[in-house]
Symmetry: C2
Subunit: 453 residues, 2 copies
């Protein structure tokens, strides 16, 4: 019934707007034609991924990407470009390896990645027998003495049956976040998780984990799906010893920066934010996550300048620092905005991969939501039909907490978790047209909001 | 206004069907869960592409794919599998090369592909000065004496600004089909076209061309976008000589087969067809075009059997022969169906790549179209929202001419023309989840049609 009401509203909206809609439709088409023909985002992404590569917070590569983004915002025609200081945590991986010993007595190496923010074991070996559980419920039932001194393998699968892969990701994500602490509470030595991966391959996926205050910080690592399958099968038949060597850990804090550029509003200086995060995990090239969001956001600004669209309000691109392991950039941004008494009208983030856009997720009151939904006929020719999501990106969550209406670009979700947080998240996995369509849709939405809010 | 009416109908449909819709929604979910968890299409596509590879009509590889498809249909649980004889044209490429001579006197090789069905020059060299035109209109204005003895470069670009890439493909397709005949009519030696490609790379795209009756059969070849850019820039500054050596041509006809498998209807033997084409061009692996459509269609049959869905009508998978350079398989199928007085309720084809489905294009009367549209709320959770297309696949066009309602799966169109008819159309370009979602949506639609028609 809810759907029926919202469709009725949509029809009403269409009728009321029909005079205006024609002009907007022409502007949508100008934006799309400009970006698909002349967009620079794809080549910029190639630069970012191939000359800088992955760029974890605290790394020298991240600092290079700060300079790079500053320059690209100037090239795009920003009226003002600046760096916003952010104190970020520094985590380093170092060397690491995992071996298992089967009943024939041989050690075999498994591909693995320590989870981000995990402590290692100072470059020493730690070994023990593996105990496998399929779920938290199963683990909760295990008496502590059965876990003590063991290595816990949380063999919880990424649920392939979810059409919306982000649901499967969130579902399995609980294991990534908590496996270490759960293991430590029962005095296990370290935790292994099955990667949060939709791919049927052996690529391990890293990503942030957390330690619970006051609980020993045991290591947590991820293995790829085929290694997890192999381990699962072996464990059904025999006892397996695992040996981990790792050197990762937190190395204090560092002064770094988010990069910001804007075009000044012609009517007022109320702010519309479009952004992504400049940092990435320390594997692959951070192409879909989130180089795509960065170059798409810069493209929005460039397109406004290039097409000489008169923006009523200030349009600001924010390349957030430290989304992956601390979201310090997002927090600092909202804090500074509040201190400076800046009024933010709206913020949108692109942080779900540079795939064909399908929708815009809206985290805001129903009046604004319904207004945006009433524009659906303008967006449909661009493949954007889904305005049902009610979440937005983690970098702009602190802004939302201050009452700012926020949104996230919703690209096709089928391929993201094949490559997310892995060696495979490279430029080659990004398609030019898909990437540029994401910029197109964000530019179109900001054009509408700038004009109507 | 038209959109508003169809949305009203949709709402009405939803209200009327709401009791039934719940049961259907559960069946949709069973189908999706089965295919995403246990679908075999992705591994089957790997087999087809990696053990057989490309499979042009008339080649030994095509004959192998006939045996392969026969076996896969049996494995999927078809009640009956058979081969339908089709007399197909045989075209062979042979060796080929293109060189250009610039003002420094050196010859330089350009990557090229003869267009499919083009005649070559019997392995001899033919050379001449290149004359470039940007469009047919420009070519039409050229006096014949300016073309005589020359090589015509039809430098017409694939229009990147179209969101629906098939529109850009059809638009530029006129050059692929007619360049040779246009050239011959003004006594040019051969034609070069800019590939029908959305990629900014140097990969040439082949595809079918046609000769006009009574006009000399001069060769037609395609070059990649970056070679075309290079040639365009050179031609602005100097005269360029091109030299073609090619050996391709039609080599008569051959007896071959379409492969058919079906599960018998429980209520009657009226037929619902789901299919794709088994042949491919003679480059790459024919993975998206159209190995994807083949394995998706077989998956439909397997899923009906596996889930024990009682099919009222006969569900028939057709792996059509010779779509690429003759559509003899589709023509023969419709002819045989008519001769046998078979009643066909519906036919759907998947031949636009194994990408995430977005819609179903419907070529049928408005009553049936509106009924299918009324099911939109069932399809929306699977990302399928677009029922506005009014075309269907070329293999089932002859059935449609006999009055059969037809349809085509509409996948996301952004990546297809990067790789279509090229060396790059390989298994690695196919994503498991996207491919299986295509099978899911076709199974769901056939479930609904089988039940309601």
């Amino acid at each position: 019934m809810k759907k029926i009401i919202s469709l009725s509203l949509l029809i009403l909206g269409t009728i009321i707007l029909s005079g205006q809609a024609k002009e907007d439709s022409l502007q949508f088409s100008r934006i799309s034609t400009e970006i698909l023909n002349n967009g620079k985002g794809y080549n910029e992404l190639k630069e970012l991924t191939k000359t800088i590569g992955h760029r974890l917070s605290g790394s020298e590569a991240y600092e290079k990407s700060v300079k790079w983004a500053e320059q690209k915002l100037r090239d795009a025609g920003a009226d003002k470009v600046w760096l916003q200081e952010v104190i970020i945590p520094v985590w380093e991986r170092g060397k690491e390896s995992l071996h298992i010993k089967t009943s024939n007595g041989n050690w075999k190496s498994l591909k693995m990645l320590s989870l981000g923010n995990s402590e290692g074991i100072g470059g020493k070996d730690v070994s023990g027998e593996i105990i496998m559980v399929k779920s938290m419920e199963e683990y909760d039932k295990l008496p502590a003495e059965k876990v003590k001194g063991k290595i816990v393998f949380f063999n919880y699968p990424f649920n392939q049956a979810h059409i919306q892969t982000f649901i499967a990701y969130r579902d399995a994500g609980a294991y990534r976040r908590t496996a270490a602490t759960l293991t430590a509470k029962k005095e296990g030595k370290f935790a292994i998780i099955r990667s949060l991966s939709s791919a049927f391959d052996d690529v391990p996926h890293t990503g942030a984990m957390r330690y619970e205050e006051g609980i020993p910080k045991v290591p947590a690592i991820a293995i790829g799906n085929t290694s997890a399958d192999e381990l699962e099968n072996l464990l059904k038949m025999q006892n397996i010893t695992a040996k981990l060597n790792s050197n990762c850990g937190m190395k204090g804090e560092r002064r770094s920066y988010s990069v910001i550029g804007e075009i000044t509003g012609k009517k007022d200086q109320d702010v519309i934010v479009v952004g992504g995060h400049l940092d990435s995990w320390d594997v692959g090239e951070g192409a879909h996550d989130d180089g795509a969001g960065i170059v798409q956001s810069i493209e929005v600004l460039r397109t406004f300048k290039k097409l000489r669209i008169e923006n009523n309000h200030t349009i600001r691109v924010v390349c957030f620092a430290n989304e992956e392991n601390g979201t310090k950039g997002g927090k600092q941004y909202a804090k500074t905005a509040k201190e400076n008494n800046e009024k933010h009208l709206f913020a949108i983030e692109s942080d779900a991969g540079g795939f064909s856009p399908r929708g815009i997720s809206l985290e805001m009151d129903d009046t604004r939501r319904n207004q945006i939904k009433s524009w659906i006929n303008l967006f449909l020719p661009y493949g954007v039909y889904n305005f049902e999501g009610k979440y937005s990106g983690s970098d702009i969550a602190p802004l939302h907490e201050e009452g700012v209406p926020t949104a996230e670009l919703v690209p096709d979700p089928q391929r993201y978790f094949d490559i997310h947080h892995t060696e495979e998240d490279t430029f080659e996995k990004v398609n030019r047209r898909e990437l540029l369509l994401g910029s197109t849709v964000m530019t179109q939405l900001i054009y509408m909001i700038d004009k109507n809010w």
